[in-house]
């Protein structure tokens, strides 16, 4: 059985391929480019913040930069990253199927993603959108810059997200190998399933709100125009109805990856399978009830603030359950400290810290002080970079042998894991203190008393950026020069490690043997 990398060779066979593994690799390339682009915008922003007053760039340029950083990172990296790359590659193998339910829709979702990304880049080059990735009306509908192309690009990226989600739900329901019940599914599949449910349900509302902004800006439709009696707070309702579940779209797959690491490297059964599986679904559904905590000071009624406040506390419980179950899995295990395991501990520490500051920000009266300050920015970067990006790196290192048939260099990987941890903390812990001192977000120039912390944060950003470039470099080198990998280098019981690496196009020669569960390390 020739493996999928060399099966039919040639560019046309790759670009037109409907093999979920090849589409996953194409997504990996596209998503990495988006990460590099978003990171570049962030570096430029941090460079400007080195000096407190005006300088280095025009205010309009800075405002465009933070909008592009937001749009590129959120819609082109965070949301598609783990589901579209590792979900696409691993889900069929983990459920024992030869491919996803709708392979052609899977390929179409990749090209729709590329179309959306291209339109967004054209919009940016064309000098578009200084409104922030949140597009709050009435500024977004009256902005001097060209908002419509980027808004429509986000709509198109949303369509691609729905197609991916739809594919995963249908596959999990209908294509499990004979005899695999829901409770036999690997927990990564549960996490991707919960993410797909959110993608399918919440994304259309985002599509609607950004289209309304684009039409308001271009055709003066006046849906949220206060001079015509419209209420801008309603746009915030529609936007955050999608965007809060969207942060769960970003973190749930990361939790799925982390849940796979613990049993493999601790050689131990997951502490409580049901707790993790159902907390994934819990996060997905209760996550829809908490969008109002972004609007405590936006002028919503106190009753609403009360409801959304309580619900935000409930959804935090599910994340807390997961953290305790991961740590519990290590108890009485036999832990090997490899690079993915270093990322695992980085994730646990930063996600726990980010999650607890999430509780702090969800407490209504504290949010009045912190809303739209650098405290909120530090909070969500702790979850996005500390959580999703760390899990993305962990997944690349963990599944590198399976996807490419080669091993990554262990020494460099450990160095990069430590570098990410140090660089990250140096960048974002000062931002917590800046937020406490009251420095608002999206500030081109700030009062002088915030200067020292901003310089420190920028140095951290440079360190984090360089570590990321270093990681990308040695991974690309490992693609060609890495040692040949065996089918199961980590000795894991996971289903994906029971097929040769890299797996053949059909994934399985013989159907998956379910006698030994994917987390059963207590018997041979």
């Amino acid at each position: 059985m020739i493996d999928y990398l060399r099966a039919p060779s040639g560019i046309r066979s790759w670009l037109g391929s409907i093999d979920h593994k090849r589409i996953a690799l194409m997504y990996l390339v596209a998503v990495t480019i988006a990460l590099v682009l978003g990171g570049a915008f962030a570096m430029l922003m941090r460079t400007k913040l080195l000096i407190s007053g005006p300088g280095i760039m025009q205010p309009l340029t800075y405002n465009r930069l933070f909008t592009w950083h937001g749009v590129t990172m959120v819609f082109m990296f965070m949301i598609p990253a783990i589901p579209a790359v590792f979900g696409n590659f691993m889900l069929p193998i983990m459920v024992g199927a030869k491919d996803l339910a709708f392979p052609r829709i899977n390929l179409a979702s990749f090209y729709v993603y590329c179309a959306g990304a291209a339109l967004a880049l054209w919009g940016m080059i064309h000098g578009g959108a200084d409104t922030g990735w949140t597009f709050y009306s009435p500024y977004s509908t009256a902005s001097p810059t060209d908002v419509a192309p980027i808004a429509i690009a986000i709509f198109i990226l949303g369509v691609s997200s729905i197609m991916t989600g739809l594919n995963f739900i249908a596959t999990t329901h209908m294509l499990r190998v004979k005899g695999m019940r829901w409770m036999d599914l690997p927990l990564f599949v549960w996490a991707i399933y919960a993410t797909s449910v959110i993608q399918v349900i919440a994304t259309p509302v985002l599509g609607l709100s950004v289209t309304l902004v684009a039409m308001d800006h271009a055709l003066h439709m006046g849906m949220f125009d206060p001079t015509l009696g419209g209420d801008p707070v309603l746009f915030q309702h529609l936007f955050w109805f999608y965007s809060h579940p969207a942060v769960y779209i970003m973190i749930l797959p990361a939790m799925g990856v982390i849940t796979e690491l613990a049993p493999t490297f601790a050689r131990k059964n997951v502490l409580s399978y049901k707790a993790i599986a159902f907390s994934s679904l819990g996060i997905a559904f209760v996550g829809f009830l908490t969008w109002g905590h972004h609007m405590f000071v936006a002028g919503i009624s106190q009753l609403d603030a009360a409801i959304f406040g309580v619900m935000s506390m409930f959804v935090a419980i599910f994340s807390a359950i997961k953290v305790f179950t991961w740590l519990g899995t290590l108890y009485k295990g036999s832990i090997a400290l490899t690079a993915p395991m270093l990322y695992f501990f980085t994730f646990i520490y930063l996600f726990a810290f980010g999650g607890m500051t999430g509780i702090a920000v969800a407490t209504t009266s504290l949010d009045v002080h912190w809303h739209d300050t650098y405290f909120v920015i530090a909070h969500f970067h702790f979850i996005m970079i500390g959580g999703t990006l760390t899990a993305f790196l962990a997944a690349i290192h963990y599944w590198f042998p399976k996807m490419f048939g080669r091993m990554y260099p262990e020494k460099w990987a450990v160095l990069s894991a430590v570098g990410v941890f140090v660089g990250f903390n140096l960048t974002f812990v000062p931002q917590f203190l800046l937020g406490n001192a009251g420095m608002p977000r999206r500030y081109y120039s700030y009062p002088d008393r915030y200067h020292v912390l901003n310089v420190c944060s920028t140095l951290g950003a440079y360190l984090l950026g360089s570590v990321m470039v270093f990681t990308l470099a040695y991974l690309i080198v490992a693609l060609f020069k890495g040692k040949r990998a065996t089918a199961n280098p980590w000795g894991s019981r996971g289903f994906e490690w029971r097929v040769p690496s890299p797996p053949p196009t059909e994934n399985f020669e013989a159907p998956l043997d379910l006698r030994l569960g994917c987390y059963e390390y207590d018997r041979e």
Binding site: P92, A97, K98, D99, L100, A101, F102, P103, I105, I162, L166, N167, I169, A170, H173, M174, L175, K178, V200, I201, A202, T203, P204, V205, G207, L208, S209, L212, D216, L219, H220, M221, G222, M223, D225, L228, G229, G230, D231, L234, H237, L238, F241, E506
Partner: protein, 204 residues
Amino acid sequence: MSSQYESIARQHATARVGMWLFLGSESMLFAGLLALFAAYRISYPVAFYEAAKHANLVLGTINTYVLLTSSLTVALALHATELGKRRASVAWLLVSIALGATFDVLKIVEYAQHVGEGFSFGHYYTSTLLPTPAVLYFTLYYALTGLHALHVTAGIVVLIWLALKVRRGDFTPASHVAFENGALYWHLVDLVWIFLWPLLYLLR
């Protein structure tokens, strides 16, 4: 049959599940606009009450009957294909396409009449008869019925594609899942109109 399925029936069942997921996602698109409509109606009850009087109830009601009947004819077309009667199925499909087209034409007539009276949307709203927030009723009216009409037009294209495939004999009583999914899409479009009609026209 694609290789990852073990039977053609399984592939059809998966196609139906996929279609239902798509319908769920598509209906969420209208959820946003319905939420806006509810919010503005609560903020400005008088303005919406006055503005709803100017909605053309006659055309609205005719459109409701047109869409309900088209749901029936599409269901009958599907039934005919299940029994293998290709000619009857194509005939029912053509009736459904005609009904869909009637809906779109009546919609355009209604829009022309409203714009003529000055009830356009947003900044193009020039009428002074009604209290100012009434412009929101018409902005929402155009958004809701416009989005719905877009879906009706897409439905018509799907029905035309189905009619061609039935005439070419691609569907057999055993394998016609694409026809079922096309019919499901058309029924969703009718379902949405069932809710739009009372909200926009029966605000008496």
